[in-house]
Amino acid sequence: MHDHRNAEHHHRSHDHDGHDHGHEHEGSELSEMALRVKALESILVEKGYVDPAALDVLIETYETKIGPRNGAKVVAKAWADPAFRDWLRQDATAAIWSLGFTGRQGEHIVTVENTPTTHNMVVCTLCSCYPWPVLGLPPVWYKSAPYRSRAVMDPRGVLADFGVTLPETTEIRVWDSTAETRYLVIPMRPAGTEGWSEDELAALVTRDSMIGTGLARDPKEVRP
C-alpha cells in the first residue's frame, strides 16, 4: 500500500516558487496543496471528524478495489442473462447491488442500453458525478471543461476524438448525471460472441464503453 502520509515529503510543486532552493538543503518542503491538506486533516483529526487510518483504507479501496471491472461484470451479465437485463431495466440499483457493488455514489444508478439505432453517452456538466461502485473514480477527461461542454453541444465530434464513428442514422443521447442519478451505459454486445462465458464477455467491456465514449472491444482482440 502507498504511504499517503509522507510520500509527498520530497515533492516540490512547480507553482510554489519564491524560495531559494539552494539554501534549503537542511529543511524540507511541502507543496502548497500538501500544506493545505495537512492543515485541514490535522484539524479534522483533532476535532474527531476523521481518523487517519480510516482515510488510508478508503483511499486504498478506491485505488485498488473499486474500478471499471465491476461495471464490466454488470454489462457481461446483462448480455448473458436476459432476466438480469430485465432487472437492470426495472431497477438497476437493486440489480447492481445484488452483485455486491454497493456503496458511495451508487444509491441511484440507471442503465441505458445502446442499440443499432441509439447510442448513449454520459456526462456531468456541472461537476463530475459518476457511478463510483461500478466505474471507480472518473478519468481526467471526464472532469475537464472541454468534455463537459462538448459532450452536450457536439457529441458526434467528441466520439470522433475517441475514434468512434457511428452511422449518421444512429441517434446519440447524452445523459447529464446529477448528485442523485448516475448512469451506466450498456454497450452493444459484439457479434460473434455467442456462447461466451460472462468472464470472457467482461473482458470485452472497457471503461469508455460504459461512459459511452467507446464501444466494446473487438472479440478478436480477446479470443483471436
Binding site: E29, M33, R104, V140, A145, V158
Partner: protein, 128 residues
C-alpha cells in the same frame, strides 16, 4: 487536430479533450487525502451530497471564470477549495484557523531535516 476538433474548438472556444489511459486514480497523495476527507465528512453527516456537488460545481465555475482552462488536472484543487469552504460554512473550522495551521505546517516542514517525517510538533513556534 481533426476537423471535428477544429469545428468544436471554434464553436465552443475550448481546447481539445485531455486524454488518459486507465492510469492512477490520484496523481499525488494530497489529492487522495482531499478526496477521502470529503467522503468521510459526508458520511459523518457534516453535509449532504447535494450540498457537496453544489459547492464543487460552484468552485469549478469560479475557477473557469478567472481563467482556469479546467482540463481535469486541476479538479482536486477545486475539490479541496470546495471542501475548505464547506468546512468553514458548517462551522467545523474557520478559514483563519485553516490558514494558521497551514503556516504552522510550512514552518514545521522547513524545520524538519530532509528524509525525516514532517510532524506538526517540529514547528518552532509550537513550543510554548
Amino acid at each position: 487536430m481533426s476537423r471535428h476538433e477544429d469545428i468544436a474548438a471554434a464553436v465552443c472556444g475550448v481546447a481539445p479533450l485531455p486524454r488518459d489511459d486507465e492510469g492512477p486514480v490520484f496523481r499525488e497523495p494530497w489529492e487522495a487525502q482531499a478526496f477521502a476527507m470529503a467522503v468521510t465528512l459526508h458520511e459523518r453527516g457534516v453535509f449532504t451530497w447535494a450540498e457537496w456537488a453544489a459547492a464543487l460545481s460552484a468552485e469549478i465555475s469560479r475557477a473557469q471564470a478567472v481563467g482556469d482552462p479546467d482540463l481535469g488536472d486541476s479538479y482536486y484543487r477545486h475539490w479541496l477549495k470546495a471542501l475548505e469552504q464547506l468546512v468553514a460554512e458548517k462551522g467545523v473550522s474557520s478559514a483563519a484557523a485553516l490558514e494558521a495551521r497551514r503556516q504552522a505546517w510550512d514552518r514545521a516542514a522547513h524545520a524538519t531535516p530532509h528524509g525525516q517525517p514532517i510532524l506538526l510538533e517540529n514547528d518552532p513556534l509550537a513550543k510554548d
